[in-house]
Subunit: 397 residues, 2 copies
């Protein structure tokens, strides 16, 4: 049984703050400070250029990739860290398109994070081969997978509502239709159990600054199924994805397996912070995390609906159908969130009208949920909310 009081002690949480935005940026793991300081002093400072080999910097993207892999059901050697999520989406999608050269449709949904859609639009423009990005409603994805589709590109957990796609079923349907899949795990890695191998996912990408607590702008990850890894042509063919980076050949030859998804020199400070942050997962059972996450989310929904009836639930009510975040809608959502933040309850706002709360069992407990709803109830009970004057003020906040 995972001891969440123990994991909570691993994070710094400011006095008076209830942090329900770990789905945007995880809090500071106490060990990350020491790890980064140690790297700067003992490795960069003392070893200088030798740090690349002696301190193992060069292998960090693979070593840490394996650590992330344990949290998302990926075998060793199938994930590598680096760059940003948008870059990793580009790499995955470009390679996925190559695998189904005769088809032109990239299927996604309106709940995909916009950057993924933007990256697809840019890639389609660069390729100039008549690909089409088809965006449907999340509920319509399954029916839209047909034999015109080359790639199904989805974010597993909808960043707005928390709605969870069935990765295994959709991947199966995609494969049956002759398509390949690109899964964005931004809102699911560290939020719920994921089984990339078991789902037979083709490509997956994710960021590490949300539920994995790697820090602002922490490096992203990419997964390629072993059956594809040695076949794909890397679109971003940088030197560290070369078979022999230090031979300085003039011609690119892709490295074996996941190594060809490496691009440039990896961001060592960010990787060090992430490496420390991942220690918090040692001893955490994903099934325990999931159970606790659903419990916290269910409690939040029940309390909010009971005490703040003017807020409309935008997330699936069934805990098994969502990630680890809850959104409520209100026309004054922006102002409500500003008021919450002013009183120490930190969630976030997503236009046009969603207030969004992340529930992260590693450091958030039932008491936090109750206290957050106490404050939300107090804010919502303020009669000003119903006056035109307030609305006026809220709009100029």
């Amino acid at each position: 049984m995972t001891d969440f009081s123990k994991t909570r002690s691993l994070f710094y949480l400011p006095e008076g703050v209830i942090y329900l935005d770990g789905n945007s940026l995880g809090p500071l793991p106490l060990s990350a400070k020491a790890r980064v300081a140690g790297l700067m002093t003992d490795e960069w400072g003392e070893l200088l250029i030798k740090g690349w080999n002696k301190a193992g910097w060069m292998m960090m993207p693979r070593r840490i990739g394996d650590r992330v892999g344990k949290l998302v059901g990926a075998a060793e050697g199938t994930i590598v860290m680096g760059d940003t999520l948008s870059i990793k989406v580009y790499q995955a999608l470009a390679s996925a398109i190559d695998l189904v050269p005769e088809r032109k449709v990239i299927l996604s949904d309106s709940g995909n994070f916009p950057s993924d859609l933007y990256i697809a639009q840019g890639l389609i423009g660069s390729l100039g081969r008549g690909h089409e990005l088809k965006i449907v409603e999340p509920e319509a994805v399954e029916a839209a997978i047909d034999e015109t589709v080359a790639v199904v590109m989805l974010t597993e957990v909808d960043y707005r509502t928390g709605r969870l796609h069935d990765m295994k079923a959709l991947t199966k349907k995609a494969h049956a239709a002759g398509a390949v899949t690109v899964w964005d795990l931004a809102h699911s890695a560290g939020a719920l159990p994921i089984d990339l191998s078991g789902a037979e996912a083709d490509f997956a990408v994710g960021c590490t600054y949300k539920y994995l607590n790697g820090g602002p702008g922490a490096p992203a990850f990419i997964y390629v199924a072993p059956r594809h890894a040695d076949k794909i042509r890397p679109a971003l063919s940088g030197w560290l994805g070369h078979e022999a980076p230090f031979a300085f050949d003039l011609d690119y030859r892709p490295g074996g397996g996941i190594d060809r998804m490496r691009v440039g020199t990896p961001p060592i400070l960010g990787l060090a912070a992430l490496d420390a942050a991942l220690d918090a997962w040692d001893g955490v059972e994903m099934a325990d995390l999931r159970r606790q996450s659903i419990k916290l989310c269910d409690l939040f929904i029940a309390e909010v609906e009971r005490r703040c009836p003017m807020l409309v639930l935008a997330s699936p009510r069934d805990g098994t159908k969502r990630g680890s975040q809850i959104s409520f809608l209100h026309p004054q959502g922006y102002a409500i969130m500003q008021a919450l933040i002013a009183r120490g309850v930190i969630g976030d706002f997503r236009a046009p009208d969603a207030i969004r709360f992340g529930f992260t069992p590693l450091y958030i407990g039932e008491n936090d949920v109750i206290r957050a709803v106490d404050i939300l109830e107090d804010i919502m009970s303020n009669s000003l909310w119903d006056t035109p004057e307030y609305k006026q003020r809220a709009l100029v906040t």
Copy 2:
């Protein structure tokens, strides 16, 4: 007059080490440790998600880009930080190709860093429009610029020899031929005066972990001439390059000017270290730095040639024709460099036979040069170098 004894005091240099590899990885600026620790504690720790606005994280890529701009002759608002150099090469080259759609030749040279060539090869493969990467010897670049060339893509300072291209003259010739330029400043930013505006460069990219001392894997930069910036189509169209990232529209609309070269969430820890590292340049006159760099390099050449005649100079003898690094050739170069490193003189080796030394006036002085040559002379005078036994041993090192 720049006081280089003052700048030296800003860096940590391990006891007994003469660091002549700042052209690969600059040493630790003492202020970087405090800056990163402060960011982690006071910003990530205390502000959490609010750090993006309240601590100015979101604007760091632009603010720090302007600081780098001052060192490379770029106007405010023309440089943005992020990603790795390979990614920035991809963006610059993809946009440059678009500007000359009717031509198919990308001209580069064999002294370009291989990753730039690899990126070009990958991009050409993705585009599938019959582009050709034409690689000539560095000396042949000027003559090869003709009306078939779409893009001239060069590293200003040859990573192997330090040979310096004439950016202004080659850019002028490229423009006269109807081509655009992509300049890689990896080995020149912080090594010598650069005038991107004056040279009318079209695109430029660079890394910040060499002469700019930003730390292992520090973020890269990209420059786009203002005359192009609002016209180019970003190949890597990530959300932070969107006109309104937080509107979460489903369609990409490029941001104004250099902002469209942003891609994903920026690496804040790395940017913080770089920001601190750039403080070392406050009060440094680039003309003074250049004068001192040439003095150190000339001294090194003279001493090595006088005392180690078996080493063959691979760098231009004329200080105005090279960057801030010197290479010598020797068949046993790898073993010689290992012996030097074992005795605290850190340079590096580039296959097949070059030993390479960077001279960085911010923290390296004439005494360091003399002491380094003392040790090199001692190593080279060891008669073992001439015996078959040693060669045998050296090869298995």
